[in-house]
């Protein structure tokens, strides 16, 4: 039985771990951390943030934002960001829909979500008519808040599934 390769690999074992994962992995893991006290991630806080955001968005719409040289660049830049976040939102919605079978379980959540979505459409029209950094930032913030609401909802669904399973196991 030959052992040359086996011995070589075992002697040099640590040198076989030569690759490093990119920063993307930790960024994604961090987003999903079940963080402790959790006040900052609580749904209530995000609801408040959503309400504040909607008020700020309404204020922005009343402001006439002058045209600038970089309007088209801002618009193009936003379209890339929008595509990226919309993909994330679509995946999360699919997951939530697949896992929520109890009627009415999503009532509070969907109301907030639809309000944000409606405000987004209004802002998007404004972006098309008068692209500006302020409107772009408001749109991105809207997308981020929606993603966080979706994450919260997914976390709640996971917890409730776990509780149900534990209940079944206890029986």
């Amino acid at each position: 039985m030959d052992r040359k390769i086996e011995d070589f690999i075992r002697q040099h074992r640590p040198e076989f771990d030569d690759k490093e994962p990119s920063g993307r992995v930790w960024a994604e893991v961090r987003n999903s951390l079940p963080l402790g006290n959790g006040w900052i991630r609580s749904l209530a806080v995000w609801r408040a943030a959503a309400i504040f955001f909607m008020a700020a968005s309404a204020f922005l719409l009343w402001q006439r934002v002058g045209e600038s040289k970089g309007e088209q660049a801002t618009l193009r830049e936003f379209q890339d960001v929008e595509m990226f976040y919309n993909d994330q939102i679509a995946v999360k919605i699919e997951l939530i829909e697949a896992n929520s079978n109890a009627e009415g379980a999503l009532n509070g959540f969907t109301k907030d979500f639809h309000q944000l979505e409606a405000m987004y459409q209004v802002l998007k029209e404004e972006m098309k008519a008068r692209p500006s950094k302020q409107v772009k930032d408001a749109l991105v913030l809207n997308l981020l808040i929606r993603i966080d609401l979706l994450n919260q909802q997914l976390h709640k669904l996971e917890k409730s599934t776990l509780t149900k399973e534990e209940g079944k196991n206890a029986i």
Binding site: I5, E6, F8, D17, P21, S22, V25, G36, E158
Partner: protein, 187 residues
């Protein structure tokens, strides 16, 4: 393994359970590189290995409450990584075993015919192995699992694991010999 070794990161894990983000980051940094390389050797793809790593850490961190210290955190996490990597590979390849007919190897190569080994050459040759061979060889030689454990992980029999390892080693020798001859003829 004694209890002290098993619970080497007990304090860190306790802090994670209380939601300390810095503790999560430290635990991630301690294990990410080794786990990424483990996933990469099984999947054969950097992108897929990153997805596996991400899913494994998310799953481990979310289930940290279930971790009771009866295995070292590293081996628990490694088992999650390997299971996810094997599943991803199976999904992509549809069937991982057997592949004997597809990648049959030449007759046993004599030890004396083997060229001088270097890390780079062996690493590259391992990555050139067919998926099934590479997985069994990595699990056995690099991750330290025995055939019974490999059989359980890959849902194959122990004798399949043994025969795949033997074929994988022979294929590896063939690749290393061919590579050296090829380089030699170019010079």
């Amino acid at each position: 393994m004694d209890t002290e070794t098993l619970n080497i990161h007990r304090d860190l894990i306790e802090r994670c359970k209380q939601g300390d983000e810095q503790a999560y980051l430290r635990l991630y940094k301690l294990y990410a590189k080794a786990m990424y390389n483990t996933a990469f050797r099984i999947s054969g793809s950097g992108e897929e290995a990153e997805d596996v790593l991400q899913e494994a850490f998310i799953s481990a961190f979310r289930n940290l409450a279930d971790y009771r210290g009866d295995a070292s955190f590293g081996s628990w996490l490694k088992r999650i990584v390997i299971n996810k990597a094997i599943n991803a590979l199976k999904k992509r390849k549809h069937e991982l075993m057997p592949e004997d007919e597809l990648f049959d190897v030449a007759d046993e190569i004599e030890e004396r015919d083997m060229p001088e080994l270097t890390i780079e050459r062996v690493r590259a040759a391992v990555m050139q192995l067919p998926d099934g061979y590479r997985s069994v060889l990595s699990l056995y030689l690099l991750e330290g699992y025995d055939h019974q454990e490999i059989a359980e992980i890959m849902r194959i029999t122990e004798s399949t694991s043994k025969s795949q390892l033997s074929r994988a080693k022979n294929k590896l020798k063939q690749l290393l010999t061919l590579k050296t001859n090829h380089h030699g003829s170019q010079n």
